[in-house]
Amino acid sequence: MAMAKLRVEVDPKVCVGCMACVNALPAVFTPNHHRQSLADNLDSAAPAEIIEAAEACPTGAISVFDAITGERLFPQ
């Protein structure tokens, strides 16, 4: 069964670079040169893992969407 395609946004105005998402899911979340998170390689993890990593963000900087429908999956 094909996995859902996701789109992940990290709000740079809100991300404080705590690395909670990087530690939770390093295959997807990496720090950029400003030490804020970037989401990439979304196919390397299950959607539930990505949503769980987004949930670990203490500032709510990460939003997860269904890439096809645009539906917001997290936060709901």
């Binding site: 670079g17 530690n23 769980e52 203490p58 500032t59």
Partner: protein
């Protein structure tokens, strides 16, 4: 001139008004070395923000890496107690660098996420109103510090940890003693703190053992599960449970007291807030945090030699990052000394930044928000009973001794 700066951080003037005191240092010598307390004072917003995102340069392993004698001095007979406290506290994640920090914090991140904490809002609201009901049952003169700010956060963190109601006075007393090593300036502080840690560990050992025997869905249960799965050892469980109790209540007390005081000393802002508290509470609470932060000046320790604004910070040097100065830096905030509940954006540093960004920041915000809303809705005519307020002569936390108001 920098050489003439008064940098005695434990004087009555500095306790009463840290903003003028640290602001003078920020404007004259923003990366200043205090000979008296053997620490660098980093005071500009830009520098503090940069420092907080560089844990490889500025270590959090304070107790482990700082072998200098405590200042002010302790009773020489307590050297063994100091060693005990050092070894115990070195297991806290807030006193750790990666990878230990990442491993320990990962266990708690999800619990303290905005979504996780939002589930507690109703309970916090009920607790605030319950305390206000009790405080005003027979009296309209109330000490906000004693009757609202101190009991509320302990009640909430105790509920989260799963500490039975009957045990909470004991847990509070242990926490007050334990925190003396970090807060007090008295020579007997290590002895009392060590006793508090031992008592608290004995109590928490029983709590953790019971959760290992029969899992419980609370924060102590989360730590017990981390021990069972090998993510924490028992000493880490005990050190971090105690750290959660301390951090989970002491700073929020000051957010509430300092925030209420800022409102009362700025009646135009209080009036504006009371007109629509629910709509304004988020920006107002952030402004309370910026304007008078609970922790004015936390510390790191230099892990490497660092050049900053022409100064050389040497490996092993103490580095104090002065939130009280950074949050009032005119290069980062317009009208920095004005209390403006509509301020937005408001990227204050009261919860830090980077990997040590305050774990409980969302909980603290909820407790502050619900308190300010309840006061505005129920007691919009609240006023200060006595403007001559005193701050406790302690390190680290900006603590009002009392906050008497008429409701």
């Amino acid at each position: 001139m920098a050489a003439e700066l008064n940098t005695d951080i434990y004087t009555a003037d500095a306790f009463a008004d840290p903003y003028t005191f640290y602001g003078r240092i920020r404007e004259n010598d923003p990366v200043h070395f205090s000979e008296q307390y053997e620490t660098w004072l980093i005071t500009r917003y830009e520098d503090v923000s940069w420092l907080l995102k560089r844990p490889e340069l500025f270590s959090s392993e304070l107790v482990r890496r700082d072998s200098r004698a405590p200042a002010p001095p302790i009773d020489p007979a307590d050297a063994d107690e100091l060693r005990f406290i050092t070894e115990f506290r070195a297991k806290e994640f807030i006193q750790s660098d990666p990878p230990a920090h990442s491993r320990m914090r990962a266990v708690l991140n999800k619990y303290f996420s905005p979504k996780g904490m939002e589930r507690w809002r109703e309970a916090v609201r009920g607790a605030v109103n319950g305390l206000l009901d009790a405080a005003t049952a027979h009296e309209t003169n109330v000490d906000i510090a004693e009757q609202l700010a101190r009991p509320l956060p302990l009640l909430v963190i105790s509920e989260m940890l799963g500490i039975p109601t009957a045990d909470r006075p004991l847990v509070k007393r242990q926490a007050d003693e334990r925190m003396l090593s970090a807060l007090s300036l008295q020579p007997d502080r290590m002895r009392r703190s060590a006793a508090g840690i031992r008592e608290s560990s004995a109590y928490l050992n029983r709590q953790i053992d019971s959760r290992l025997a029969q899992p419980q869905d609370d924060l102590l249960g989360t730590l017990a599960e981390a021990e069972r799965s090998g993510q924490y050892d028992r000493e880490e469980v005990l050190a971090n449970a105690q750290s959660l109790i301390d951090a989970g209540h002491e700073t929020t007390i000051q957010l509430i007291c300092n925030g209420v005081l800022a409102f009362l000393r700025n009646p135009d802002q209080w009036k504006k807030f009371c007109a629509d508290p629910e709509a304004l509470v988020e920006t107002a609470t952030e402004e309370c945090l910026r304007f008078d932060p609970p922790l004015p000046a936390p510390r790191r320790i230099a892990a490497k030699d660092i050049e900053l604004r022409g100064k050389t910070i040497k490996v092993g040097d103490r580095v104090t990052w002065v939130i009280a100065a950074a949050n009032r830096d005119p290069q980062a905030f317009e009208r920095p000394d004005e209390f403006d509940i509509m301020r937005s954006p408001n990227r204050h540093l009261s919860f830090g930044s980077g990997i040590h960004y305050c774990l409980g920041q969302y909980l603290a915000r909820i407790e502050g928000q619900e308190t300010f809303i309840a006061l505005a809705r129920r007691f919009p005519t609240i006023r200060l009973k006595d403007d001559a307020l005193e701050y406790a002569p302690i390190r680290g936390v900006r603590m009002l001794k009392s906050l008497p108001v008429a409701l």
